[in-house]
Amino acid sequence: MLRFVIRRLLYAIVVLWLVSTLVFVFLNVSPVPVERVIGGPRATTDTLRQIRQNLGLDQPVLLQYWDFIKRLLQGNLGESYINGTPVTSLIADRLPTTMWLVFGAGVIWFVGGVATGVLSATRVRSVWDRSSTLFVLIGLSTPPFVMALVLLFLFATKLSEAGVHFFEAGPPLQEHFFRRMILPWIALAFLMVATYTRLTRGAMLDVLGEDYIRTARAKGVSERRVVYRHGLRSALTPVVTQFGIDLGALIGSTIVTEKVFGLQGVGQLVYQSIALGDTPVIIGVTLMVTMFVVVANLIVDVGYSFLDPRVRLS
């Protein structure tokens, strides 16, 4: 087990290096002229050169890369081109908002998806099953940004006009936490609930057809216990695996939701940095997201051996 984890962490370092190099290369192939952004439209050629020199952009690319890797190895992600703030502290400022957004949405979609999936798997072809299938279809075909705008329109605009303040804009981590987060959560979770309903329903139906479920019934245990203790226990394994992976991946894909609801998270940070050509920040966020995905995968793999005794890590 320990050897497995160590090997996977070494892999993770290789992945991080590859990803950072790729991003570095891409940003050098088609650079945003960051000196123009900083200097403004009326900057002279001299000023522009001065800015490039200050940022070290006049150096040969390979030398820039070497410096970049050297810094990285010391855990230093560099400073923002735009305002000189260390990238680590920029991310640290924004990360809690994004984390809360993703984990809150995660809880909603996991609980909602599994519950709906189980209910429709145990009542196949019932009204409940059919309406949840319809809901899955709607969920899967609604892009998150449409959902976000619809929610914002209905709950923030229309209800506010009616005097009900369901949604507050502004930094969520200081006051009105739930009021600020609930709509973003729902917008982000909506599509995932649909995916997880389908995933759970399928897994449940497979499991409920297994011989060991028949054995459990033949033992005379209650139907409730058959469904949850025997059925759901098995069906959850693939769902939990997927959940870990999705949760890690979602940290990097909250741009639209954050933008629509005005949340100052990592998504907004990377959005602004791309527009401004703030290379260190883009690379920093990319590395952070990669880190999350890699760690989430590792947790899933290790967790799998606890969920299923047949899996032994080596």
Binding site: E210, D211, Y212, R214, T215, A216, R217, A218, K219, G220, V221, S222, E223, R225, H230, R233, S234, T237, L307, D308, P309, R310
Partner: protein
């Protein structure tokens, strides 16, 4: 009164392809300490019969009665049925690996059943009993193996664990659905030995479902041969082996290796079991029967007594009641009946390759067919 009395059991399923008539009128009884063997090919309705008794066929349409100690299993409510399952009637399934939950320890799975029926029994007590049962069925070091997962057991040990589970609450009836089919031949013999020994010890009634006549010869007191969802023949074990009446039983016996003797060739039964959605008319076995007569194609034979000294010997076949057993005499009676019974159906006989005969004996054959119909019985 017997421990279990099943009368006129019918089971059908509504599927997208039509109504599957899996069981079409089965009656039998089992007494304490006795073993009933149910034999048949896949699709003969034997497993459905067993699972219906336990009410494990949720989407089925069920008719008939199954009186267990006087109470009908087929109309019992969920709570009553749950109390019976595991505690009064236990079941052993074909594939012990897929029948045990892969994510729970073997001991836990036995404990769970004990505690489901005896809520007063604490964890420790249930665990003690599980260990005891595992020891009883011959699992070495049961106190440590109790914490193993099913995948850590060998095939034979898994089936032993299933048997331990089945016996844990000392049920009055055990239904074993092909318990040795998934096991190696040597392990098979051990498991059958174990079941026989424990059955004697606990005086349990046993329904042994199998397609293996060797298992029946080892275990059964009485045998029910099923085909196409109906009983073809019912008899005591010895009667079935030596004085079988139904051509299907005969076919089954002849396709068993030992029956062919040294140098002899096995005789498989030609054709496929019938589709339970689209059953053949008349006798369900007639498309595969070497003794098929005219009336077999149109009239379904009743399950009637066979001549001989076993009054419980019943067979559903139009062959003469005296045509039982392997002897030449029986074969002669069969041949005579077939010759007479087919007399009127030269056209149909032509389909079996006797076209020349058919043309010769056309007109008089029709008249003879009528009398042959009457004489077939």
């Amino acid at each position: 009164m017997s421990l279990l009395e099943v009368t006129g059991l019918q089971v059908s399923f509504n599927t997208a392809d039509g109504v599957v008539r899996a069981v079409r009128g089965v009656s039998f009884a089992v007494d304490r300490g006795r073993t009933l063997g149910i034999v048949g090919e896949s699709g003969s309705g034997k497993s459905v019969t067993a699972q219906t008794l336990m009410r494990l066929t949720p989407d089925a349409t069920i008719r008939g009665t199954a009186l267990f100690e006087g109470a009908d299993l087929l109309t019992a409510d969920g709570r009553a049925m749950r109390a019976i399952r595991g505690a009064e009637i236990a079941m052993i399934f074909q594939d012990p690996l897929s029948s045990l939950h892969p994510l729970y320890k073997v001991g836990w799975q036995i404990e769970e059943m004990i505690r489901a029926h005896e809520p007063a029994a604490g964890r420790a007590q249930a665990r003690k009993r599980a260990i005891e049962m595992l020891g009883l069925v011959g699992i070495p070091q049961p106190a440590s193996r109790v914490d193993d997962y099913p995948h850590q057991f060998s095939g034979g040990m898994r089936q032993r664990a299933m048997i331990a589970m089945a016996l844990a609450l000392n049920p009055k009836l055990i239904i074993a659905d092909e318990p040795t089919t998934a096991l190696d031949a040597t392990v098979q013999a051990q498991i059958l030995d174990l079941m026989r020994r424990l059955q004697g010890e606990f005086d349990t009634a046993l329904i042994m479902i199998t397609h293996d006549l060797g298992v029946i010869a080892d275990m059964a007191d009485e045998v029910l041969v099923m085909y196409g969802g109906k009983p073809a023949e019912r008899a005591g074990r010895r009667t079935l082996y030596y004085r079988h009446h139904h051509p299907y039983t005969k076919g089954l016996l002849e396709s068993v290796p030992s029956a062919a003797g040294e140098g002899g060739r096995l005789k498989p039964i030609p054709g496929q079991p019938p589709s339970l959605i689209n059953l053949p008319t008349g006798c369900v076995f007639h498309p595969r029967c070497p003794y098929v007569m005219d009336r077999c194609r149109t009239d379904e034979p009743p399950l009637d007594p066979v001549a001989g000294d076993d009054p419980a010997h019943l067979s559903a076949c139009w062959l003469p009641r005296t045509a039982a057993g392997r002897g030449e005499e029986a074969e002669r009676i069969r041949a005579a009946a077939v010759a007479e019974g087919r007399f009127g159906a030269q056209g149909a006989a032509g389909a079996e390759g006797a076209a020349g005969d058919g043309r010769d004996g056309g007109p008089p054959g029709r008249a003879g067919g009528a009398s042959g119909d009457g004489g077939g019985r």
